[in-house]
């Protein structure tokens, strides 16, 4: 396998983990917006308690993707940063306000009005970040970014990224985050033995899951009519992944109904994973369809191999540490 393809796989893996973990953290904030900040103290305790120990580590996956991207595909990175500067800035603003909102609400102890203000900031940031990151993916996948062969962006800097597909993907990604969060929180509420919260999140997960299914169908229909390059990719290569996401989605819904929360979590994660890889496989080998391919954008081979080696070594340290974190706060029983 060529080094650029290995790195592409690694970047996608990073993106997938970011979606599954960081996305769920965003999703918790999306639910604050969905419930118009009316969550009960008990509900909020579960929600913030679930994010607290992990959100910063989960956030670093985005940095990982960013660094691997500009190291391995500098040409494409530079194009993204120019053509998609506005949604990227807005996503960044969301990320900033989410993080600051979370940290300051956690430690604004004894000042309830301030704490609530930061919770609102957290919620809006949590929704804006996945929305605008989603629009970036959508703008890219639709193939409507006007990029020349020499990798110069020739479109409008304010509106060039806006397309129905971009907006659709924005909403879709927000829904994905909300769905993941609801399923995870149902499992965590079950683990804490709180029947009322478990059923609440189960109900929310079911409702969101059904909506997401409908939305996904609409998305496929849209791609079929308006994004021919991506549609060809779906038809020729990534249809098994599309099928897989449907099966996994149904599995997670069925498990929710049967109250098998661990299976529901795995099903939801598998569905999201299949959607991401389905998109990637369909779009390959284009990084910026229809002008820039993996081949056009890649860095020299020795740089790519060094990055691969670095990432392998880094993972040797990272994986045990991450496993310990997740074991302590997501799997293991409470000691104190």
């Amino acid at each position: 396998m060529e080094p650029e393809n290995i790195l592409l796989v690694v970047i996608l893996m990073g993106l997938t983990v970011y979606a599954l973990f960081g996305g769920a953290d965003f999703g918790a904030g999306v639910w604050e917006v969905n419930t118009a900040m009316q969550a009960s103290p008990k509900e909020r305790k579960l929600l913030f308690g679930a994010i607290g120990p992990v959100w910063e580590a989960n956030h670093v996956w985005l940095i990982f993707v960013l660094v691997a991207m500009f190291g391995a595909f500098p040409e494409a990175f530079a194009v993204f940063c120019q053509a998609l500067w506005l949604p990227l800035v807005l996503a960044l603003a969301g990320i900033v306000f989410r993080g600051v909102g979370f940290a300051l609400r956690t430690y604004s102890i004894g000042a309830e009005r301030q704490q609530f203000a930061w919770e609102v900031v957290f919620a809006i940031g949590s929704t804006a970040a996945p929305f605008f990151l989603g629009t970036c993916v959508g703008a890219l996948a639709s193939g409507s970014l006007n990029v020349a062969r020499d990798a110069r962006f020739q479109g409008n800097f304010l509106t060039g990224w806006l397309s129905p597909m971009a907006l659709f993907t924005g909403f879709f990604v927000v829904g994905m985050c909300a769905y993941l969060a609801a399923v995870y929180l149902a499992r965590e509420a079950k683990g804490l033995g709180d029947r009322e919260l478990t059923l609440l999140w189960r109900q929310r997960a079911l409702a969101t899951g059904i909506w997401m299914g409908v939305l996904a169908l609409a998305g496929v229909a849209y791609v079929a009519t308006d994004a021919p390059l991506l549609w060809d990719g779906f038809r020729q290569r990534s249809w098994p992944l599309v099928l897989g996401s449907i099966v996994a989605g149904f599995l997670s819904l069925y498990s929710l109904i049967r109250e098998r929360y661990r299976t529901a979590v795995l099903g939801a994660a598998a569905a999201v994973t299949s959607v991401i890889w389905g998109w990637a496989v369909a779009q390959y080998p284009w990084l910026v369809p229809p002008t820039i391919t993996v081949e056009d954008a890649k860095a020299p081979a020795n740089v790519l191999w060094l990055l691969i080696a670095t990432i392998c070594l880094g993972f040797l340290l990272l994986v045990p540490a991450l496993a310990y974190l997740l074991y302590l706060f997501k799997v293991g029983r409470r000691i104190g």
């Binding site: 607290g52 120990p53 910063e56 580590a57 956030h59 670093v60 940095i63 990982f64 960013l66 660094v67 691997a68 500009f70 190291g71 391995a72 500098p74 990175f77 530079a78 993204f80 940063c81 120019q82 500067w85 506005l86 800035v89 960044l92 603003a93 900033v96 993080g99 600051v100 979370f102 940290a103 300051l104 956690t106 430690y107 604004s108 102890i109 004894g110 000042a111 301030q114 930061w118 990798a151 110069r152 962006f153 800097f157 304010l158 860095a299 020299p300 740089v303 060094l306 990055l307 670095t310 880094g314 990272l318 540490a321 991450l322 310990y324 974190l325 302590l328 409470r334 000691i335 104190g336």
Partner: protein
């Protein structure tokens, strides 16, 4: 066609200014939080170590309180660091296109170091009651190591911009890239040493300053005294080392960036046996540095360890390759002035500490400490102004100009405006949260006045 190109040119000049201001603002903001990310874990570990060693609950109260302050600063620092990594591409896409592969290796290493830090921050902050006492302490160690390591890797990138190595240029692309040679460029050693020691200094002196302030109000507080001493110990240990690291960094500038040295020193004319100018204001019109206290031959000696060595002046370089002299010279004087003050203060503390077996703690000394915290911060910011403005007009010394790397996307001015508003909100919010934390009452043990505790309660 030409009327399409002309506004674009004007935009580029404005974009450059706005992008540089935004970079300066966000870097200047982030570096404050970054030094806490590097220095604060060391203080936390020291306080918790004392608790584990002595079983004194007061040490635990201190470590606990500090871990909350650290949590706020780390979170805001992680966010402001994320902003910087986005800005690399958003403001300087051409730089990332041409040089991304050259600098990606240290960035990737930095990413992993930061990853470990973030993971163990989660474990440490939320693990007080879930881990055994020693396991909890050990989970703080990767935070301290990760902080220093990520600083090391990321500063090598800045060092590379000063002394670029490990690539050749061909048609606007870096080719023949050797990322490791790029990372291990000549400036990496001195610059990383200078920055990491600075981080310990600033974190130490700022912590010492905060508690010196509260000791002035309540001299009997054992809690504040211990906190002040830990901060002071870190600052005092780092400051003398900084004299050596700073000298190393300056001599490397003399060897590798003579034009930057000339700007630092306000040296317009090439001369043998150049004097060291203390203070002074460079005048670019008359090509002289006025009002400076000049010590003959000392600059030549400091830069090249030879009192008669020739120091190149700014007039030796083409005008379009020299940095704005006044800013660089003044910032350098401020940094060195603050640094020398802190080093002298530290030597006094060390000398008295060794002779009398105790740290000085009179009101005059406490007042000096209160001043030393902000001064260390001023030195830090001034130092970054020196190295960044001193490299202009280059983004990569002698290879790429900053003006050629800036984004073509318009509206950078609006982005700058939004950034100023956002960062003001964040700064106010963070300070408010820290004040709330400071107002929270401490456990009873921390309120005991001096005598009981001095007896070993």
């Amino acid at each position: 066609m030409s009327d399409l190109v002309l506004p674009a040119m004007a935009d580029t000049a404005f974009n450059l200014l706005a992008a540089r201001l935004q970079m300066a603002l966000t870097l200047g903001f982030h570096i404050v939080l970054a030094v806490f990310g590097i220095g604060m874990p060391v203080l936390l570990l020291a306080a918790e170590w004392q608790y584990l060693r002595t079983g004194d609950e007061l040490w635990k109260a201190l470590a606990h309180r500090w871990s909350k302050i650290f949590a706020v600063l780390f979170a805001v620092g992680a966010i402001s660091g994320t902003v910087l990594s986005f800005e690399l591409g958003l403001l300087w896409p051409e730089f990332m296109r041409q040089f991304g592969p050259v600098v990606a290796f240290p960035f990737a290493m930095e990413g992993f170091a930061f990853f470990l830090e973030a993971i163990f921050v989660g474990i440490y902050l939320y693990g007080w009651n879930r881990l055994s006492r020693w396991a909890h302490w050990w989970c703080g160690v990767p935070i301290a190591l990760g902080g220093a390591a990520s600083a090391w890797f990321v500063v090598t990138v800045n060092a590379w911009m000063n002394t670029p190595r490990g690539f050749a240029m061909d048609g606007g692309r870096a080719v023949d890239i050797d990322p490791i040679a790029a990372m291990l460029n000549p400036a990496s050693g001195p610059q990383t040493a200078h920055m990491i020691v600075a981080a310990y200094m600033v974190a130490g002196f700022l912590v010492a300053a905060v508690y010196a302030w509260s000791l002035l109000g309540d001299p009997s507080s054992v809690y504040s005294r211990r906190a002040m001493k830990l901060g002071l110990a870190l600052g005092v240990a780092a400051s003398p080392i900084q004299l050596i690291a700073g000298d190393w960094a300056a001599r490397l500038v003399a060897q590798t960036q003579p034009v930057k040295l000339a700007a630092l020193e306000g040296q317009f004319k090439t001369e043998a046996g150049a004097p060291l100018r203390i203070g002074g204001l460079p005048d670019e019109a008359t090509r002289e540095t006025n009002y400076a206290l000049e010590i003959p031959g000392l600059l030549s000696w400091l830069a090249y360890r030879d009192r008669d060595a020739v120091v190149q002046g700014l007039d030796d370089f083409p005008a379009d390759q020299t940095p704005p002299v006044a800013i660089v010279h003044v910032a350098f004087q401020v940094m060195v002035g603050c640094g020398v003050f802190l080093a002298l203060l530290s030597l006094v503390v060390l000398w008295r500490g060794l002779r009398r077996r105790r740290l000085p703690d009179g009101p005059v000394f406490l007042r000096l400490l209160v001043v030393s915290g902000p001064l260390s911060l001023v030195a830090l910011e001034a130092g970054w102004v020196v190295t960044e403005v001193g490299r202009q007009p280059w983004i990569v010394q002698d290879v790429a100009r900053t003006a050629d790397m800036v984004t073509a996307a318009p509206y950078v001015g609006w982005m700058l405006l939004a950034t100023i508003v956002t960062y003001t909100v964040i700064a106010v919010g963070t300070i408010t949260a820290l004040r709330l934390l400071a107002k929270q009452s401490l456990p009873e043990v921390a309120k005991q006045p001096m005598p009981e505790n001095a007896l070993g309660a």
